[in-house]
């Protein structure tokens, strides 16, 4: 694609998220300041009132998540952004979002942890928390873009998936992506798909809030539209009211999971780089995938057939795609900025005697291409 330089915006990843969110139709942001995600909030505070949307900085992270779900139930497309400690605090209300089926997008710009950890430095150590952080069984969709153009498009996709499946969607960035500035060409309005939640066509008298007769995603009725439905974080039946009936609860929990497991073709997204003839496979996401891409090029220059697989949808995990990849390569190297997390999913996905190599780094310094190249050379 030929770039017209007038169309290029040189933005940090956090600004890209905010710009893309508004382009996706986001009209509510509730947040709380936390490094290294705060620029998302600051930019939303700037943008939203100009387009008739609402921004609020709440008194804490839990409250921020509460506003996001409240606004969503009133019909808004809502966003919040945070980082590790704040993500931990948001988890209870995130679970509420799953059970009441409130579409929203939660950005976690990952920093070093545990606890306060390394506030200004990158990590990828919340990747399992994104899947399993809130208590109870629940589905998860989490996206891991690696480049700024991709952050733009994946932010839009996060909103679309949230709306399509009536659930929170997590956008996982890391401090490198959040603060690194890179050229982005925002697509023209109308040139990309925008999905809005399916609204009910039932009359207020006939409306059943969790009616799944037409599919696993119940049609939505916003508050103040004549539909007086009850919303609760208790397990509920199709009418929205609490139940402890084992069959009803089991049916509904399985339905929540099925929204994701039954729609993999609409949710999964994996990118490959030089993977067609690769003998040494790399599995990496986020900013680590950038380093991996450089390492692949360097390895190729040395005559080693390396190739990269990188998930843009990390949850649900692309087990089948990793299995297929593993059948073609001799080994898979999993570099990640933590002490070994997503590697377990890779190991679960491949046939049992497949050697999996780990490259791990904590300490707040990104994994650089030479480390991955060394891993490739060792494995070759």
């Amino acid at each position: 694609m030929k770039k017209n330089m007038d169309d290029v915006r040189f933005w940090p990843g956090n600004i890209v998220v905010a710009e893309a969110a508004v382009a996706a139709g986001c009209n509510f942001f509730g947040g709380y300041p936390i490094t290294p995600s705060s620029e998302v909030a600051a930019h939303m505070a700037l943008l939203l009132p100009k387009v008739g949307g609402h921004f609020i900085q709440m008194e804490d992270e839990m409250a921020a998540m509460g506003t996001v779900i409240g606004a969503s139930l009133a019909g808004a497309k809502s966003l919040t952004a945070t980082s590790g400690p704040g993500f931990s605090l948001k988890l209870e209300n995130l679970g509420f979002g799953y059970i009441v089926e409130a579409p929203c997008v939660v950005v976690n710009v990952m920093r070093g942890g545990p606890s306060t950890g390394l506030p200004t430095q990158p990590a990828q150590a919340d990747v399992m928390q994104a899947r399993w952080g809130t208590h109870g069984d629940h589905p998860t969709i989490a996206l891991t873009p690696a480049f700024h153009q991709e952050i733009y498009m994946e932010t839009i996709r996060a909103f679309n998936l949230a709306e399509q499946f009536r659930m929170p969607v997590i956008l996982l960035l890391d401090e490198v992506l959040g603060h690194l500035s890179e050229g982005v060409i925002p697509p023209k309005p109308g040139s990309f798909e925008i999905i809005n939640r399916t609204k009910t066509t039932a009359s207020p008298e006939d409306y059943v809030p969790y009616d799944t007769s037409e599919g696993d995603v119940p049609p939505f009725a916003p508050y103040f539209a004549g539909y007086r439905w009850h919303t609760t974080g208790l397990n509920h039946d199709r009418t929205g009211f609490p139940t402890t009936d084992p069959d009803t609860v089991t049916f509904d929990e399985k339905r929540l999971m099925r929204k994701v497991t039954g729609n993999r073709e609409l949710i999964d997204k994996v990118e490959y780089f030089q993977a067609d003839d690769a003998e040494i496979g790399i599995f990496a996401f986020g900013s680590t995938a950038r380093a991996a891409m450089v390492a692949v090029k360097q390895a190729r220059a040395k005559g080693i057939k390396a190739g990269l697989m990188r998930p843009l949808t990390i949850w649900p995990f692309p087990n089948n795609q990793v299995l297929a990849f593993s059948k073609q390569v001799k080994t898979i190297i999993v570099p990640e900025m933590n002490l070994g997390q997503i590697v377990y999913e890779v190991e679960r996905s491949v046939h049992s005697d497949m050697p999996i190599h780990r490259i791990n780094r904590v300490g707040g310094v990104p994994i650089n291409p030479s480390e991955i190249l060394a891993g490739i050379e060792e494995a070759a």
Binding site: G66, G70, L73, A74, N93, Y223, G226, R228, F241
Partner: protein
């Protein structure tokens, strides 16, 4: 003709889950009477709650109702109110829910002066979880987690809210439903954050541990201590400790309301 509560209630959900003699039912009735007096269409009302006995109230109200997580009702309500400033948003929660785990949201909603009415059913105890002491359990009173008497001083909620910047602070009690309804009506009509404490009875969890197992005894104990604000003001200082004032305790009508301020900003930026 007797008042018809049916248009406001999910009748098929009755009987309710509260203990016989519980004060929450009185609060719900007073709310409905106030909604009716104001001619608020139930479709334009959202009632938001947290966790606990009081927070089960929305389930019986035939409106937009949201039963959220423990302590967080005001934050969900804030999101609703910001996105739909035209909707009437009411929060009802218990004392533990709204002043302990939700205390931060309480003071900040008051400071913001967002047009939400917050009703705290203060029965001085965590009822649903089995009678643990709350921030409003009186000093020395017994609770499941205060078997030797409560060692902690309690909140004076109207003072707390006044200090936090609420533009409407009132108190009613379950011994006088009619008066409570009048107070609630004023709170609902107030353009700004309206805080209403309802002194209520949990004879099951508080009363049984504190020699008031009979709900009527406990409601009498509450009623005997309630004094209209004016009368309370004329009391000797020593007597004041034995009573509490009821009515609208503080009201400031002209303070800018948060969502109105935000809508003004939107208008200015779009001009």
């Amino acid at each position: 003709m007797s008042f018809d509560y049916k248009p406001y209630l999910r009748y098929e959900k009755l009987p309710h889950m509260w203990c016989p003699g519980c004060g929450i039912g009185i609060v719900v009735k007073a709310m409905i009477r106030a909604f009716d007096d104001l001619e608020w269409d139930p479709r334009d009302i959202a009632v938001v709650s947290g966790i606990g006995c009081t927070s089960r109230a929305p389930g019986y109200l035939n409106m937009n109702t949201l039963h959220t997580t423990h302590g967080r009702a005001l934050s969900f309500a804030t999101g609703i109110k910001m996105h739909r400033p035209d909707g009437n948003v009411v929060v009802i929660a218990g004392d533990g829910d709204s002043t302990a785990i939700g205390g931060n949201h309480l003071i900040h909603a008051a400071r913001r002066n967002i047009n939400i009415t917050m009703i705290v059913n203060n029965n001085n105890i965590y009822g649903m979880t089995g009678g643990q002491y709350s921030p409003t359990t009186p000093l020395g009173a017994k609770a499941a987690t205060a078997p030797y008497g409560n060692l902690e001083p309690s909140f004076d909620l109207p003072h707390l809210l006044r200090g936090a910047g609420a533009s409407f602070v009132a108190r009613g009690h379950v011994g006088n439903g009619r008066q409570l309804s009048t107070i609630l009506k004023k709170g609902f009509a107030h353009n700004g954050f309206a805080f209403i404490e309802v002194v209520s009875n949990c004879h099951t969890q508080f009363g049984r541990r504190n020699r008031m197992a009979d709900p009527m005894n406990m409601i009498k104990w509450i009623s005997d201590r309630a004094k209209p604000l004016k009368k309370f003001g004329q009391m000797e200082e020593d007597d004041k400790a034995k009573y509490f004032p009821v009515g609208v305790l503080f009201e400031e009508k002209d303070r800018p309301e948060y969502t109105a301020t935000y809508e003004k900003l939107i208008k200015k930026l779009s001009a």
